[in-house]
C-alpha cells in the first residue's frame, strides 16, 4: 500500500489536526452566549484545504453542523469566482446561502482563510445555529410559513465581515439593525470568528512546522484511509438494490393535499465498494412551504451520517476520522424539484425534520442487508421557539425536543434522545427558569406506549412548559401522523403529539408545524415525544425484561400480557401461565 507520508509522521499530524478542531469547538462553546450553542451544542468546527475538503472536525459539534462545512467553502469560492473576486489574507467570510452549500439560513458559517508562503492553503471554519436571523417572526425555528428564501431572513453569500484584517462596519451595522436580540446573536458571531481565528493560527503553525507538502500528503493519506475503511465496509454488503419508503406529516392542518403525508423514498444500489443513493419517488417540493431540504448541506449529510453510523459504527470501530474521504464511495441523486432537491427560491428553513426522515429512510432501506447493525425506526424531533418581551426586553428561547431510537439487535432502543443527524443537548430546567419567563411542569418518560419487540423501541419523553407572561410559540416538528417502523416482526412505535392547554381551560391538539402563535400567561404547551419501533417478535422478549419494564412502570401488566404474552402476577413472572400463553407449554 502506497502512502504519501511516512505513516508514523502521518499519525502525528492527524493527532495535531484533530486537536485543533477540538480546541476550536471547546472555545466556541465556552465563549458563546446563546443556549442553542453553549448548552445544545448546535455548532460545528472544522479545517479544510484550499478547495474546501474537510481535514478534521470537532468531536463536540453536532453532525448536521460540521458535516456541511465543505459545502460552505465550495459555496464561498463559487460566489467569489462569479464576482471575479479573490480571498486575501485577513479576510473573514460570512455565509449562509442554502443554495450555496449552507445547511439553512440560521446556520451561519464564518471562514478564516489560511495562507502559507503567500498561497491560500486552507480555511478554518465555524458554523453555528443562531437564535434569530431576521426572519418574518421571532426565532430561527418554527418559521414554517416562509414562502421563499427571502422570507427566511438575511441571506449571506460570501460576505466579508473583515476585509484584509479591517472590520467591515457597515455589515455589522446591518446585522445589528436586522436581527432581533442582536446582542446575543452578534456576540455569538464574534465568538465564532475568535474560535475560527484560533484554528487558523494553529493550522498555520502546523504548516510552518512540517511544510505544506508534508501536511497535505498526510491529510491526503487520511482521506484515503477513511475512504478505504468505508469501501471495505460497503464491500461486505451483498450487491443489490435496497428500497424503502416512509412518510412525513407535512402540514396536516392544511387543506392542500399536496402539502401533507409526503413520501420520502430511498433506493440504495450497492455494487462492489460503491453505494448510489437515489431519492426518486420522494414528494415534489413544497414550493411555498419551507420543509424542502437543500441537497448539499442537508440531504447529503443525512445520507452520509446514517451510512457511516451503521457501517462504521464508532462503538465498534473506534474513532474514525470524519472527513471527505468517507463520502467518496457514496453518490447521491435526487430529482430536481423534489423535496430533497428544491429549486431556488423554494424555502428550506424548516428542513430539519424532513432531513432526519431521510436519514431514517436510508436506515430502513439498508436494514435487511445489515440487520444486526441498525435500529428499528427512529422517532423524529420537534423544535420549539418561545418568545416574548419581558420588561421591555425581547427574548427568544429555542428548545429541541428529543425523539427515541428503535430497538436493536440485543439491545432496547435509546430512550428520549436526539436521533440520527441531530445530537444536541437539552437546556437544564434550572437554567431555563432562572433566565426566562417559563416554567417547566414535567420532564419524564411516557408510559405504556413503547414499540414492542424482542428488543423494544426507545421511549419518548413528555416535556411541558408554562408561560409566566404573555408570549408566543412556534413549533417545527414531524412524526405525529406516522408511527416509527418496527423491524423483523417488531411492532411499530408511537407517534408524537403536541398539546396546548389554554389558561382558559381549553385543551387542543396541535399539528406538528405551528407558525408563530401568541400565547397568554398561564398557557401550557406539552410535547409528547415519539417512541421508536420494536425489533423482533415481542413474544420472544425475555420475560425478565418484560417484568423489569412493568416494575419500572414503563408498561402495565395488561400490556405485558397483550403485547408480549407475559403474565405478571404479584410482581413476578407467572412462568407457567406465560409458557402457556406463548404456546411453549
Amino acid at each position: 500500500m502506497q502512502t504519501r507520508v511516512d505513516p508514523i509522521l502521518a499519525a502525528v499530524i492527524h493527532g495535531a489536526l484533530e486537536n485543533i478542531a477540538v480546541e476550536m469547538g471547546h472555545k466556541l462553546m465556552r465563549m458563546s452566549y446563546s443556549s442553542i450553542i453553549r448548552e445544545s451544542e448546535d455548532f460545528g468546527t472544522a479545517l479544510t484545504d484550499a478547495t474546501g475538503r474537510q481535514l478534521c472536525e470537532c468531536t463536540m459539534s453536532t453532525p448536521l453542523q460540521s458535516g456541511p462545512i465543505p459545502g460552505y467553502i465550495a459555496g464561498i469560492l463559487g460566489e467569489l469566482e462569479k464576482r471575479g473576486d479573490k480571498v486575501q489574507p485577513g479576510d473573514v467570510f460570512m455565509h449562509n446561502d442554502p443554495y450555496g452549500g449552507a445547511s439553512h439560513g440560521p446556520d451561519v458559517g464564518f471562514a478564516v482563510p489560511i495562507f502559507h508562503k503567500g498561497e491560500l492553503a486552507g480555511f478554518s471554519v465555524t458554523t453555528a445555529h443562531h437564535l434569530d436571523i431576521g426572519a418574518l417572526t421571532p426565532g430561527s425555528c418554527g418559521i414554517v410559513d416562509a414562502v421563499d428564501t427571502y422570507a427566511e431572513g438575511l441571506q449571506f453569500k460570501a460576505i466579508r465581515v473583515y476585509d484584509a484584517g479591517r472590520k467591515v462596519e457597515p455589515v455589522w451595522q446591518i446585522l445589528r439593525s436586522n436581527i432581533r436580540i442582536a446582542d446575543l446573536v452578534v456576540g455569538d458571531m464574534e465568538a465564532q470568528i475568535a474560535a475560527a481565528r484560533i484554528g487558523a493560527e494553529r493550522y498555520s503553525a502546523l504548516l510552518e512546522q512540517y511544510g505544506l507538502e508534508t501536511v497535505t500528503g498526510a491529510y491526503e493519506d487520511l482521506l484515503d484511509y477513511s475512504e478505504r475503511l468505508m469501501r471495505d465496509a460497503i464491500s461486505r454488503i451483498p450487491d443489490g438494490r435496497y428500497n424503502a419508503r416512509t412518510f412525513i406529516d407535512g402540514y396536516l392542518d392544511d387543506p392542500d393535499p399536496a402539502l401533507k403525508e409526503l413520501p420520502i423514498e430511498v433506493t440504495l444500489t450497492v455494487s462492489g465498494s460503491d453505494i448510489h443513493v437515489d431519492l426518486t419517488g420522494t414528494a415534489p417540493q413544497t414550493t411555498n412551504k419551507p420543509i424542502n431540504m437543500p441537497l448539499v448541506g442537508t440531504v447529503d449529510c443525512a445520507v452520509w451520517l446514517t451510512l457511516r453510523s451503521i457501517l462504521l459504527d464508532s462503538d465498534v470501530y473506534g474513532n474514525i476520522p470524519q472527513n471527505s474521504g468517507l463520502t467518496r464511495p457514496i453518490t447521491i441523486h435526487a430529482p430536481k424539484g423534489c423535496l430533497a432537491n428544491p429549486i431556488f427560491p423554494a424555502p428550506v428553513i424548516a428542513r430539519f425534520c424532513s432531513g432526519n426522515a431521510v436519514a431514517d429512510t436510508v436506515m430502513k432501506a439498508i436494514a435487511p442487508a445489515v440487520p444486526k447493525q441498525v435500529s428499528a425506526g427512529i422517532g423524529n424531533l420537534r423544535v420549539m421557539a418561545f418568545s416574548g418581551a419581558s420588561g421591555g426586553k425581547p427574548w427568544v428561547h429555542m428548545e429541541i425536543m428529543e425523539g427515541a431510537y428503535g430497538g436493536r439487535a440485543g439491545k432496547d432502543g435509546m430512550d428520549a434522545v436526539d436521533t440520527l443527524y441531530a445530537n444536541t443537548r437539552n437546556n437544564p430546567i434550572e437554567d431555563i427558569e432562572s433566565h426566562l419567563p417559563l416554567r417547566v411542569l414535567q420532564y419524564e418518560l411516557r408510559e405504556d406506549v413503547a414499540g414492542a419487540g424482542t428488543w423494544r423501541g426507545g421511549i419518548g419523553s413528555i416535556r411541558s412548559f408554562e408561560l409566566l407572561e404573555d408570549g408566543a410559540v412556534s413549533v417545527e416538528g414531524d412524526g405525529q401522523r406516522f408511527r416509527p417502523w418496527g423491524f423483523l416482526d417488531g411492532k411499530d412505535g408511537s407517534p408524537a403529539k403536541v398539546e396546548l392547554a389554554r389558561a382558559s381551560g381549553d385543551v387542543v391538539n396541535l399539528p406538528s408545524k405551528i407558525p408563530y402563535r401568541q400565547l397568554a400567561k398561564g398557557d401550557c404547551i406539552t410535547a409528547y415525544g415519539p417512541c421508536g419501533g420494536g425489533y423482533g417478535d415481542p413474544t420472544k422478549r425475555d420475560p425478565k425484561l418484560v417484568l423489569d419494564d412493568v416494575l419500572d412502570e414503563l408498561i402495565t401488566p395488561e400490556t405485558a400480557q397483550s403485547d408480549y404474552a407475559v403474565v405478571i402476577a404479584g410482581g413476578a413472572v407467572d412462568e407457567a401461565a406465560t409458557r402457556r400463553l406463548r404456546g411453549e407449554a
Binding site: I8, N19, R30, T62, E190, V316, K411, N423, D552
Partner: protein, 688 residues
C-alpha cells in the same frame, strides 16, 4: 511524629513512612488485594514497620489514597439506591441531557440508561416545588415523603437520595424530606443533592448525588473496616483520606461525602509531583505519570494544582460536579499495543497488553508489540537490569514482535520501534497541549516531571516535542503517589449559587454568602480539632459574561468585600477570559454564578525531602547500543548504563545515558544535559 502514607492502586499498594522530626523516610511496595484492599494495607504496614525498625503503635498518622469509590463506579457495583424527587420529574436521571456520547453510532449505550445508578422503580415523586429564586410554589407533601420512604424500605434499598429542583437556592424541602426519611429508615444511607453539590443544572447535580449514594455504603464500610484493622495493629493515630480536590478529609467527612473520594488515588500522584517540584524551586510543572495502560497528566500553575471546571469532570461516563483536580488520562502506557488498523493507519494504544500477558518481553505469553518492547529494541530498557535486576526481559521476543510489525510497515525494526515511541509521545504531547496551549498556557515555560513506571522513559522526548527544555525525575518515581499523601492538608469546600450581576449586585448579600460558608467550614474544622490559627479560608468565585454557559474560576480577596475589591475580580476575569480563549468581551456585563470557599486545616506533613548528598564518580555498570533520532535521522550510540543513586550532586553530564534504579529506568537522549540535584531529583535540560 511518624506519618505513614499508603496509596492503594490497582496492582500495587505503595507505602512511605516518614519520621517528620528526623526527616528519615522508608518506602515499600506490596501487591494490592482488590477483594479487600484493607488486607494489602495491613500487610504493607507490617512490612514497612519491619524495614524501618519501628512498631506500628509508633505511627501517629495514616494518610490514605483509595480507589474503592472509583472502582465501585467503574465496575458499576454499588448500593441499591433510590431517590425521592419532584412530581413530574421522575426521569431527569434517565433522560440526562438527551445527547448521545457518540455521534456516529447506532449500537452505543447511554451509561445513565444502560447502567442506571437508580432504577426507575426506586425513583419516587412527591408534591412540592420551588421557583428559581427559591420561593415555595407548592409545599412539600410530607406524608408522601414518608409513604415513599416506607415503600423504599420495604423494597430493601440501601441508600436514598433526596433531589429537588432549585435546592441549590433553597435546600429546605430537601432537608425536611431527608429528616423524614432518616426517621423512618435509620440504617439507610441518606443524602441530599444540595449537600453533595449545591449548584444549578439538575441532571448533573442529581447524578453527582446519586453517585454519592451509590458508592456511599461501600466507602463507609471500607473506611470503618480499615479503621478497625488499624486499631487492631495498635495504631491510634488519625486516619486521613485524600479527596479528589487534592486535600485530606477525616473518616467522618468521607462518610458524609463519599463522592469526594472518586479521584482519591489519582490525585495523590499529582500532589506528589507538585511537592517534589516545589522543593526543586519549580512552580510551573506538568506531571506525566505513566503506568502500564494509561498516562495521567496534571498541570501545576504558579505552584497550584489546576482544578477541572465544573462541567468537564466525569467518571465512568457520568458527569461529576465536585471540586476535582484536573487530571487528563489517556490510554497510553508501557503495555500499549502498536498495530496497523483496518485502514492501515499506524496506531499505539489505547488497547493495552496489561500486566498479563503483558509486553512480549515479560515472558508471560505476550505476542503483540508494545511500547515496552519498542524500548527494549532501541536499547533503552536493559533486559538484565529491569527493576533493579528483579526481572529479566526477553529481548529476542521483543525483537520478534517489533520485527513482525516492521515487515507490515515496510520499515526496519529500529525505525518501527522508534515510530512506536514517536506516536506514543505525540499522543501525550497532544494531551498536554489540550491542557496548556488550548488554555492559553505556554508549555515551554514549564518543567515536565515524569514518574510512574514509564514516565522517566518518555519524559525527555515528549518534552522535546512540546519545545519544553526542562525535565525532572523524582527520586522514587514509582511511589510518587504515596509521597503526595504526606504533603497535603485537610481541605474542605463550600459553595453557593449566587447569580449576581456586576452593577446590580448587593455586596452585602455576597458578603453574607462568604460569611456563611466560612462559618460552615469553621465548624467542621472545629469538629476535627484543628486549632483556629491553623485554619485558612480561600475565597473564589465562578464568573462568566451574562448569557454564557461556562464559568472561569477567579480568586476573591479576603476581608470585607467592597467595590474596589470586586473591581480586581472583574479585572481578573477579563484577563483570564482573554488568556483562556484569546478574546475578552470588555463591555459585556459579568455574572458571578457561584461563590466558593476552600478551607484548609494545616497538618504536620513532610516538610522537606531528605537531602541527597552523594559525591564522587557515578557507577557505570555497563553500556549498550541505544538508538535515538537526531536531526531527523536514526543514530545508534554506545550509551552508558549508570546507577542513578550514585550520581553526584550538581555535577553535569551529557546524554545519551540510561539511568538505572529499582523502580524505573530514566532515558537521557543525546543533546540533553543531566545531573542530580540536592534532593536526588534527576534534572535534564536541553538547548532549544
Amino acid at each position: 511524629m511518624i506519618a505513614l502514607g499508603v496509596d492503594v492502586g490497582g496492582t500495587f499498594t505503595d507505602l512511605i513512612l516518614a519520621d517528620l522530626a528526623k526527616g528519615a523516610v522508608t518506602i515499600h511496595k506490596v501487591p494490592s488485594t482488590p477483594a479487600n484492599p484493607a488486607e494489602g494495607v495491613i500487610a504493607g504496614i507490617q512490612g514497612i514497620c519491619e524495614i524501618a525498625g519501628i512498631v506500628p503503635e509508633a505511627i501517629t498518622a495514616v494518610f490514605h489514597g483509595t480507589t474503592v469509590g472509583t472502582n465501585a463506579m467503574l465496575v458499576h457495583d454499588g448500593a441499591i439506591t433510590s431517590m425521592i424527587t419532584n412530581k413530574g420529574f421522575r426521569d431527569v436521571l434517565h433522560i440526562g441531557r438527551h445527547q448521545r456520547p457518540q455521534h456516529y453510532s447506532i449500537m452505543q449505550d447511554l451509561p445513565w440508561q444502560n447502567r442506571p445508578l437508580i432504577h426507575r422503580r426506586f425513583r419516587k415523586t412527591v408534591e412540592g416545588r420551588l421557583d428559581a429564586q427559591g420561593a415555595e410554589l407548592v409545599p412539600l407533601d410530607e406524608e408522601a415523603v414518608a409513604q415513599a420512604a416506607r415503600e423504599l424500605g420495604e423494597a430493601g434499598v440501601e441508600a436514598v437520595l433526596i433531589g429537588f429542583l432549585f435546592s441549590y437556592v433553597n435546600p429546605a424541602h430537601e432537608r425536611r424530606a431527608a429528616e423524614i426519611v432518616r426517621e423512618i429508615l435509620p440504617d439507610v444511607f441518606v443524602t441530599t443533592s444540595a449537600d453533595v453539590s449545591p449548584q444549578f443544572r439538575e441532571f448533573e447535580r442529581f447524578t453527582t448525588a446519586a453517585m454519592s449514594a451509590f458508592i456511599g455504603p461501600k466507602v463507609r464500610r471500607y473506611i470503618s473496616n480499615l479503621s478497625g484493622e488499624l486499631a487492631k495493629l495498635g495504631i491510634t493515630g488519625e486516619l486521613r483520606v485524600m479527596t479528589s480536590s487534592g486535600g485530606l478529609a477525616t473518616p467522618e467527612m468521607i462518610a458524609e461525602r463519599p463522592a469526594s473520594t472518586l479521584l482519591s488515588g489519582l490525585v495523590a500522584g499529582v500532589r506528589g509531583g507538585e511537592w517534589v517540584g516545589q522543593h526543586a524551586g519549580i512552580d510551573k510543572l506538568v506531571t506525566l505519570d505513566i503506568g502500564g495502560t494509561s498516562a495521567d497528566i496534571g498541570i501545576i500553575r504558579d505552584g497550584r494544582l489546576t482544578e477541572s471546571d465544573a462541567r468537564s469532570a466525569q467518571i465512568a461516563g457520568f458527569p461529576v460536579m465536585l471540586p476535582m483536580i484536573d487530571i487528563h488520562t489517556i490510554g497510553a502506557g508501557g503495555g500499549s499495543i502498536a498495530y496497523l488498523d483496518q485502514g492501515k493507519a499506524f496506531r499505539v494504544g489505547p488497547q493495552s497488553a496489561g500486566a498479563v500477558p503483558g509486553p512480549a518481553a515479560y515472558r508471560r505469553g505476550g505476542t503483540v508489540p508494545t511500547v515496552t518492547d519498542a524500548n527494549v529494541v532501541l536499547g533503552r530498557l536493559v533486559p538484565e537490569r529491569f527493576l533493579g535486576g528483579r526481572m529479566s526481559l526477553d529481548a529476542e521476543a521483543s525483537a520478534r514482535v517489533i520485527g513482525e510489525l516492521a515487515e507490515k510497515l515496510g520499515r526496519t525494526p529500529e525505525e518501527t520501534a522508534e515510530g512506536v515511541l514517536t506516536v506514543l509521545n505525540s499522543n501525550m504531547a497532544n494531551a498536554i497541549r489540550s491542557r496548556t496551549v488550548q488554555k492559553g498556557i505556554d508549555p515551554r515555560e514549564f518543567t515536565l516531571s515524569g514518574f510512574g513506571g514509564g514516565g522517566p522513559l518518555q519524559a525527555a522526548e515528549t518534552a522535546a516535542m512540546l519545545g519544553m527544555t526542562s525535565v525532572l525525575i523524582p527520586p522514587h518515581p514509582g511511589i510518587t503517589s504515596a509521597v503526595g499523601l504526606l504533603t497535603a492538608d485537610l481541605e474542605y469546600h463550600a459553595l453557593r449559587t449566587a447569580f449576581a450581576v456586576k452593577g446590580e449586585l448587593e455586596i452585602s448579600r455576597l458578603q453574607a454568602l462568604y460569611d456563611d460558608m466560612e462559618a460552615e467550614l469553621g465548624a467542621i474544622f472545629e469538629r476535627d480539632k484543628v486549632p483556629a490559627d491553623r485554619v485558612r479560608m480561600l475565597r473564589q468565585a465562578d464568573l462568566r459574561y451574562v448569557g454564557q454557559g461556562y464559568e472561569l474560576k477567579i480568586d476573591v480577596p479576603d476581608g470585607p468585600l467592597s467595590e474596589e475589591s470586586l473591581e480586581t475580580v472583574w479585572r481578573a476575569f477579563h484577563d483570564r477570559h482573554r488568556a483562556e480563549y484569546g478574546h475578552a468581551f470588555e463591555s459585556s456585563p459579568i455574572e458571578i454564578v457561584t461563590v466558593k470557599v476552600r478551607g484548609l486545616g494545616l497538618v504536620d506533613k513532610l516538610s522537606e525531602p531528605p537531602v541527597y548528598a552523594v559525591s564522587g564518580e557515578p557507577t557505570q555498570v555497563g553500556s549498550g547500543r541505544c538508538v535515538f533520532r537526531v536531526d531527523g535521522n536514526l543514530q545508534a550510540f554506545e550509551t552508558p548504563h549508570i546507577e542513578r543513586t550514585t550520581l553526584p550532586v550538581d555535577v553535569k553530564y551529557s546524554g545519551p545515558a540510561i539511568l538505572l534504579q529499582t523502580d524505573t529506568t530514566t532515558v537521557v537522549p543525546p543533546g540533553w544535559i543531566y545531573w542530580a540535584d540536592r534532593y536526588g531529583n534527576v534534572r535534564m535540560t536541553r538547548d532549544n
